[in-house]
Structures are given as C-alpha cells and as structure tokens.
C-alpha cells in the first residue's frame, strides 16, 4: 500500500466525483484547445485567402522623382538621379531574417514600345511568380515562353490583337500566345512577356523596374520585413502596401483576442468546477482523512494523496480534452468556416499544451482542497475519539 495506490483506489471507488472533475477539466481544456485550433485553422485559411489579394511589398529603384499623377490623370514626371535596380541584387532579399515569410517575389521590367504606331507598355515578368502574385489572372491561350506575348484585355482590344497574331517590337517578331481576361486593374493596359525577353527588347539587360513581393505575415511585422529588405537593397525604395497589410493584421488580431478572451473564461470555469468538486470531496472524506492523520500520516502525505488524485484526473483530461477538441474543431469548421476543408493537422505542441494546461488548472485548483484536508484536526475529524 502506497499513497499512489490510495489515490487510485479512491478515484476508482468514487467514479462519479472523479468523472465530474474530469468532465469539468475536459470541457475547459477541450474548449480552449478547440478555440485555439479553430482560430489557427481559420487564421491560416484567412491568411491564405489574403495572399490572393496580391503583393503587399513593392520594391522600386530609389529616385528623386516627383509624380505628376492624380486621380488617374497622368501628367508625366520629373526624374532626378534615378538609381538602377539590378536583378542580381535581388538574391540578397532571400537572406533576410524573415525570408521564409516571402511567398513570392516577382521582378518586373517595364518600358514603352510602339506597336501598330501606338505606344504601349511592355512588362517583362517571371510568369511562375506572377501567377502566385496575381492568382486572379485568367488566360485565354497559353502563357508566353521566350518570344511570346500575353496581351492585357484593353491592350488587345485597342491594338486588335488575337491569339496567334504576330507583332514586331524593336525589330523583332513576337507572336501573341494568350489574352488576359479583364482584371479591372492596370494589367489590362499592358503587354506581358518573359523577363529576359523584355530586358532584351527594352535594352535593359540585368535590370528590373520594380519588384512585387507577397509576404506571409501572420507572425511577422511587415514593417520589419520592409526594413530588412531596405537594408540589403540600399539602392531601392521599399514600401509596404499598408491597406492590405493593416487589414490582414487586424483580422488576425481580432481572432486572437476573441480566442484569448474565451479561453480565459473557460479556464476559470474549469478551475471552479475542480475547486468546488474537490472541496466537496474532501469534506465527504473527513472521517477517512481523520483516520489517515490518526494513524500517523503527515500533512504532506494527505496533501500528496489529494494532489495525486488531481494529477491523475488532469492527465486523463488533457489527453481526452485534446482528442475531443480535434473532433470538435472539425465539426466547428464544417459549420463556421468559409472553407470546411481547411487543413487541421495533429499538433504535438498543442497536445503538450493541453496536457500542461490541464495539469496546471487541475493541480492548482486542488491546492486549496488539499490544504484544507491536510489541516484537518484528526480529533475533530473522527469525533469518536
């Protein structure tokens, strides 16, 4: 017979009380883990959707240019000392601290060309990156390879271009391989080709006009990323597109605040359930505790029995709570998430968190009942003596 055996036997005998404490803890821990995992899953989904809004950081050559553009009316601009942005410099961006948060980085070479006697903007892009940055692009035909053109909807209409047509740019023949469906953006006005082809046609070898960056910023400050990119590209001006970033961060922040608030309330309720049930159980066991003390158990022995019982229940509650919460999260996603197929992987960190949280709540809420039990006067407890 050991103290541990006494604790186990008591739990087995008083299954109802043990189940009540277990239920309180499972509900508390399960709800908190459900809220956290649901919030994480939905946040991930929202983040993924927000990425579809496109680039949130722009890198352009540093310039003393004053833009004469307001409300869509372009009056031209005055450029003083415009620095170059070299394509080879961009590899430095991959070395910044938050590089892993960069989802896509699309360099772009821009320049004006004349087609059928009309001026038009030619953009050289890396189509693989561009399609991540602009997932709303829909192409009739195929995306260009070297020497091909993708025409924006408005440019194709004005220039009368169709898939299979050929045009001459800077004395070189280019065929139209695809037409971009209307996007409602400035992309409709442009002709797109591959970056090397554009650099060749615009006579800007190894140079780019701007770079669009899509950053996944659930856990990183966008301003910090801007600073880091600016530090490795001293000749460039790095700007965050604040509206998208702020909106994204605000949404995530709301989710986290809600999760935190609900978690605190649920944990408090769980603690109260444990406290009240354990205290009641200790009072019911007054005679038994009196016997323990009378036959020579020290106060710490009595405390250890009560806390061991709480620990055993808390461990079970942590495991059951985590498993139930994963099921509950899947159900919650079906009803409350826009995308019910959001990935919900088994998360060991969250499981460990559930176990630790359950132990902390279960054991700390049992300290007062354990102290009450330990302080019981054996003489009062037994009365018979």
């Amino acid at each position: 017979m050991t103290l541990k055996q006494i604790a186990i036997q008591n739990l087995l005998r008083r299954k109802g009380k043990a189940m009540l404490i277990l239920l309180g803890l499972v509900l508390g821990i399960g709800t908190v883990i459900t809220v956290i995992s649901f919030s994480d899953a939905v946040t991930g989904d929202i983040n993924h959707k927000l990425e579809k809004y496109g680039a949130n950081i722009l890198i352009v050559p540093r310039t003393e240019n004053l833009s004469l553009n307001y409300g869509g009316i372009q009056m031209g601009g005055i450029s003083f000392d415009m620095q170059e942005l070299r394509e080879s410099d961009l590899t430095a961006v991959k070395g910044i601290k938050y590089a892993k948060n960069i989802a896509a980085m699309g360099p772009m070479a821009l320049g004006a060309v004349r087609i059928k006697e009309r001026p038009v903007m030619l953009a050289g892009v890396d189509f693989e990156e561009a399609l991540i940055l602009k997932p709303w692009w829909k192409i009739d035909g195929v995306q260009p390879v070297a020497g091909g053109l993708l025409a924006g909807a408005e440019a194709a209409r004005v220039l009368g271009l169709a898939v299979g047509d050929s045009v001459t740019i800077a004395g070189k023949k280019q065929s139209v391989t695809g037409l971009l469906k209307p996007t409602g953006s400035q992309d409709d006005q442009l002709l797109f080709t591959t970056l090397p082809a554009a650099q060749d046609l615009l006579d800007m070898p190894g140079r780019v006009s701007m770079v669009e960056v899509a950053a996944l910023c659930t856990a990183c400050p966008i301003e910090e990323m801007v600073k880091q990119i600016g530090a490795v590209l001293p000749g460039a001006k790095v700007m965050a597109i604040q509206q998208v970033v702020k909106g994204r961060m605000e949404t995530l922040s709301q989710f986290k605040k809600l999760s935190f608030g609900v978690s605190v309330i649920i944990i408090l309720i769980g603690s109260l359930v444990v406290l009240v049930t354990m205290t009641g159980s200790v009072r019911e066991r007054k005679e038994e505790i009196g016997v323990f003390r009378a036959i020579g158990f020290r106060k710490q022995h009595v405390m250890r029995i009560i806390l061991m019982e709480a620990t055993l229940i808390a461990i079970s509650a942590g495991i059951v709570g985590y498993l139930l919460s994963m099921g509950a999260t899947r159900v919650a996603l079906l009803f409350f998430a826009d995308n019910p197929h959001v990935a919900l992987p088994w998360n060991l960190t969250l499981a460990a968190g559930a176990l630790i949280m359950s132990l902390v709540v279960g054991v700390s809420a049992s300290i007062y009942p354990a102290l009450t039990a330990a302080r019981m006067d054996p003489n009062d407890a037994l009365r018979a003596l």
Binding site: I295, H301, L385
Partner: protein
C-alpha cells in the same frame, strides 16, 4: 510507560469555559491493560484523545517512554502516532474502498519498505485476528465483528507498543464482544500496553486496572478482581 502529569483540558473562553479534564495524573506501565470508565461527558474520550497525541492539553504533560509528546511539533506527533500508537475506533473507521488487507496495510503506507513485506505484515496481522482468507474482501462485505477485528489488525500491523481502543465492542453483540476482548487480552499478554475506554463492566473485567473518570477528574482506580466482582 505512559505518564500523565497534571493534565487539564479546557474548551471555550471566559464564562463559557468548560473543563473536560481537570488536573489528572496517572502512570500506565508497559504491558498493562487499563480500562477507562465513566458516564457520558465525564471526559474519558477527551483523555483518550490526549493519550493519542491528537488533542493538546491546556496544561500538564504527557510523557511516553521519556518523550514529552506535546513538546513535539505537529508533524513529529504524526510520526509519534505512527511509531508508538495503534488506534481501535468504536465505529471501526475502515476505508470503504480498500480491501481488508489494504486497510490493514494503511499505517505502513508512508513507510519506505518493499511492497511484498508490507503485504506479508498485513496478512500476518489479519491472521492474528482470525481473518485469514478474507484479505480481498471490502469492508461492506463483512460483519461488524470482522470489521472490529480488521480495525485491530490495522492497529497492530506495525507492532506499536501501545493500543488505544475507544469502546471497541460498542457496536457488537455479546459473543463477538467476547472474541474481541480475548484478542486484546492476547495482545496484552504479548507485551502490548492496552488503554480502552468502555461502558461495559464485562469488558472492563479484562483490564488489569480501571481508571474511573467523573467530571474530568480521576475519582477511583480499581483492580481486576474488584471489577469482575462488580460485573458479576
């Protein structure tokens, strides 16, 4: 040897003060069987709880084998109870969710000792009170007499020098009472000191000496023959 020196126990304060034990002195020799008798409210249970190191007297001292019990701290007193005393309660106070063997093992639960040895000691104690073969039963599966014998097994499992019994036959019929008293008598013959509170003259007849208590004071001490004669 247990010595009580000017033991006084008072409850309450001022006008509401009640004196449960009033300047009581006694000496109980090792291996003696002492009965404590008196009417309800006379102070015998209070006296037994003071002897049990569970109720500090307001004044006086309790000395057991040279140890001033109430000069010990609370936790040391718990150790003292474990090493020196065995308790037999009127209401048995067995732990309902433990088997008879586990109940008998309880005083060993806090002692570092191989589990097998604890089990052997508990089985020996149960055998000593005639409960061999019933080790795995739960308290609700046995009779009142068997419960009392289990309580005695629990009291003797760690072979304490003193057993304090509070009306051990109070809830038993006369035949079972006789069996329990025979058991206590055997323990006394083995050298254990027995101090027993009882209302029964028949049970008191087993004691070497009776301490008669009235209004918190020791009013009379009688020997076995006198008590047996009274019982007859």
């Amino acid at each position: 040897m247990m010595i009580g020196e000017h033991l006084t126990k008072q409850y309450g304060r001022g006008d509401a003060t009640v004196t449960a034990i009033d300047d009581m002195n006694f000496v109980i020799e090792q291996g003696e069987f002492v009965g404590i008798m008196g009417e309800s409210g006379a102070g015998k249970s209070t006296l037994l709880s003071i002897m049990g190191a569970m109720n500090a007297p307001s004044e006086g001292a309790l000395i057991v084998d040279g140890i001033d019990v109430y000069n010990l701290g609370q936790e040391q007193r718990a150790d003292f109870r474990r090493e020196f005393l065995g308790f037999v309660f009127q209401s048995f106070h067995l732990i309902p969710y433990l088997t008879l063997e586990e109940n008998a093992m309880l005083p060993l639960a806090t002692i570092r000792m191989p589990q097998r040895q604890k089990r052997t000691m508990a089985r020996e104690a149960l055998a000593a009170v005639g409960l061999e073969g019933k080790n795995k039963r739960l308290p609700h599966q046995i009779s009142g007499g068997e419960k009392e014998r289990t309580a005695i097994a629990r009291a003797i499992v760690n072979q304490p020098p003193i057993i304090l019994a509070d009306e051990p036959t109070g809830n038993l019929d006369s035949r079972t009472s006789g069996e329990v008293m025979e058991l206590l008598q055997r323990l006394r013959e083995d050298g254990t000191t027995i101090v027993m509170v009882t209302h029964s003259l028949e049970c008191a007849g087993y004691a070497d000496r009776i301490m008669q208590v009235a209004d918190g004071r020791m009013v009379e001490a009688t020997g076995r023959k006198e008590t047996t004669a009274q019982a007859a």
